[in-house]
């Protein structure tokens, strides 16, 4: 079993929804970022998604986009992130996933990236602008270093296509709750239970729900049978951190 799956299953065995916070690398400042990562880890994060900034993040809403622009202006880079992670290897209990766009990874070189990410203690990647049809070689390169390529499925992903993803994927499956970009919504769309149940029929992997989560109550409102194994939250956390809020305070609400 892939370590990311193990971490999420362990939360489930303890009777709770696994927590997957997302933070843009270098946010809200280069120094504070590393403390935040440690505090998230100590406060019960099961997996941490680190956003690799890109100038043109088309899958992201305004909060993540602005965070990306800010850290790019401060000179945050993929190479520096990997170095920082490598220096802290073994300090984190949570699994580590890098979420970013194709071009910065491609320019770094996928092979070099896979080797250095594994050496830095990273367990997987999410690449929203890498279509499944183009991903086979990259998935193999990553797998050679035990790195998972996390599949994203949305309300409009046909079941046959989900099956293609399910046949080759590891770690967890990331269900995008909305037809849209990242960012909080007051209510999850009405079709989310149906989408989750379709995902459950196809995938044996743990199911993480993200895009649009703002509060634990949104999950509580879902029927038990389709409740996700993990919840991903990014924009709400970034806004909390930017206001000077602590990671522990944010996660406490989700842990209860």
């Amino acid at each position: 079993m892939h370590i990311l799956e193990e971490n999420i299953r362990a939360a489930g065995a303890a009777g709770r929804t696994a927590l997957i916070p997302f933070v843009t690398a270098g946010f809200p400042s280069r120094e504070r970022f590393w403390d935040i990562l440690r505090e998230l880890d100590e406060s019960g994060a099961d997996v941490m998604e680190i956003g690799v900034p890109f100038s043109d993040p088309v899958a992201d809403g305004p909060v993540v986009e602005e965070a990306s622009q800010r850290v790019l202006a401060e000179g945050v880079s993929l190479g520096a992130l990997l170095e920082g992670l490598k220096a802290r290897r073994g300090l984190f209990r949570a699994g580590l996933v890098l979420m970013g766009y194709t071009n910065p990874f491609l320019q770094y070189g996928w092979e070099r990236l896979a080797a250095e990410a594994a050496a830095a203690g990273v367990h997987g990647f999410i690449v929203p602008d890498l279509p499944w049809d183009e991903a086979a070689d990259i998935r193999a390169l990553l797998a050679a270093h035990a790195l998972a390529l996390i599949p994203l499925v949305g309300p409009n992903t046909p079941k046959e296509r989900m099956q293609l993803y399910a046949d080759v994927s590891e770690g967890y499956v990331y269900v995008v709750s909305v037809m849209g970009t990242t960012g909080e919504r007051d209510h999850l769309p009405a079709e989310v239970p149906e989408v989750l149940s379709r995902v459950r029929e196809v995938f044996r992997l743990p199911v993480a729900l993200g895009f649009g989560l703002r509060s634990p109550e949104q999950l509580a409102a879902l029927p038990d049978a389709v409740r996700p194994d993990a919840a991903v939250f990014g924009s709400a956390l970034l806004r909390h951190l930017d206001r000077g809020g602590s990671p522990a305070d944010f996660l406490r609400r989700w842990r209860s």
Binding site: S55, D56, E66, T102, Q107, Y108, T157
Partner: protein, 374 residues
């Protein structure tokens, strides 16, 4: 991915049908003003020592070749059961052409435009609004075309059920580059037949400006199999000073991925997309259609550069010597011919795609030349 797959299927099933082709031909002929003339330039030809011919896309409805594509995509979208169009626009020409097509076909239209471009091209914003389009100011990133594309892609993810994304250039995710070439290659097909009819031979060279590359791919693609015809794409070099902003992705960029396409891009060493620049807003894009990157790699098309001041000088020359006011985009193609005249043999026939008219550029040209507005 699902809306792209839906579009790919629609292209295969709807485009070849006689009904679709008949309707499209009707719109292009009776509404947009095709076929456009092929114009010989006697005064410039005499100065240059070779024949200069212009394909007059500037005479089309809404003022540029963009309408060929928007009528095609709007009609396709209506056959697909879509009721609304969204589009990005840089200079506003594609936005105006999309607004016109939507109004003509009874569809809703929303155009995303960089806030900075809205200031630079306010007349086109007013034209779009008069034709019933909503124009949304994009404040993120560099507030120009690439950010307008980001905003339109984001909106499309949410609206895909009812809405077609009417992409403006031969770039973006597959199948858009093929779809746009399909609708724009009417330019090259007509021009090829007109050259044969008027001169009895194919041109020796064909020249077109390249931003995203839709007018150029439309002009080139029917000539690609004609080995005797040299093809020149002209990119915008900006002011030409060392380190200046430019839009010459083929000449000065590196391969990368943006907006779902693998192509030549202006980017830094970390793969972040760099801002582009040109006096011509329509060429101001940090990438280029992937087919141009391919045609450059195979050597079938040569890609040159024209700078702002060369385009301005070509603009003035065509106005004074031939009485034609070209768009600054098309002025780049013309400028390349004027600046590199020694590359064209005496007596040869050179065909330039005059992709649009320059009325929209009056303020920019007058400001750049230090002229008083009249």
């Amino acid at each position: 991915m699902p809306p792209l797959m839906e579009l790919e299927e629609a292209m295969a099933s709807i485009l070849p049908s006689q009904e679709f082709q008949r309707e499209l031909h009707g719109l292009l002929h009776d509404y947009a003003g095709r076929e456009t003339p092929l114009t010989f330039c006697p005064a410039l030809s005499e100065e240059l020592g070779f024949e200069l011919w212009l394909k007059r896309e500037d005479l089309l409805h809404t003022g540029a070749h963009k309408i060929n594509n928007t009528l095609g995509q709007a009609l396709l979208a209506r056959h697909m059961g879509k009721t609304a169009l969204i589009a990005e626009t840089g200079a506003g020409q594609h936005g105006v052409a999309t607004a016109a097509a939507a109004a003509r076909l009874g569809m809703k239209c929303t155009v995303f435009m960089g806030a900075e471009d809205m200031e630079r091209q306010s007349a086109n914003v007013r034209r779009m609004r008069l034709m019933g389009a909503d124009v949304v100011a994009v404040e993120s990133g560099s507030r120009t075309l690439k950010d307008a594309i980001n905003a339109a892609l984001r909106a499309w993810i949410s609206l895909q059920g009812s809405t077609h994304y009417c992409f403006g250039t031969a770039a973006g995710p597959y199948p858009f580059p093929d779809l746009v070439r399909e609708f724009q290659s009417v330019i090259g097909r007509e021009a090829r037949a007109q050259m044969l009819e008027k001169t009895g031979a194919l041109p020796d060279a064909v020249v077109a400006a390249v931003g995203g590359g839709s007018n150029a791919i439309g002009m080139f693609s029917p000539f690609v199999p004609d080995a005797s015809v040299r093809l020149f794409g002209v990119e915008a070099g900006g002011t030409g000073e060392a380190g200046c902003l430019h839009s010459a992705a083929v000449n000065l960029g590196r391969p990368g991925v943006l907006h779902g396409e693998y192509t030549m891009l202006l980017q830094d060493e970390n793969g972040q997309i760099l801002p582009s620049g040109s006096i011509s807003a329509g060429l101001d894009y940090p990438g280029v259609g992937p087919e141009h990157a391919h045609l450059a790699a195979t050597g079938r098309v040569e890609y040159g550069i024209a700078y702002d001041h060369e385009a301005l000088s070509a603009f003035q020359k065509l106005c004074r010597m031939e009485g034609i006011l070209p768009a600054l985009e098309s002025s780049h193609a013309l400028a390349f011919v004027l600046e590199h005249r020694q590359r064209f043999a005496p007596g040869s026939r050179v065909l330039v795609n005059l992709s649009g008219r320059g009325d929209k550029d009056m303020d920019i040209v007058e400001k750049a030349l230090g002229l008083q507005a009249v």
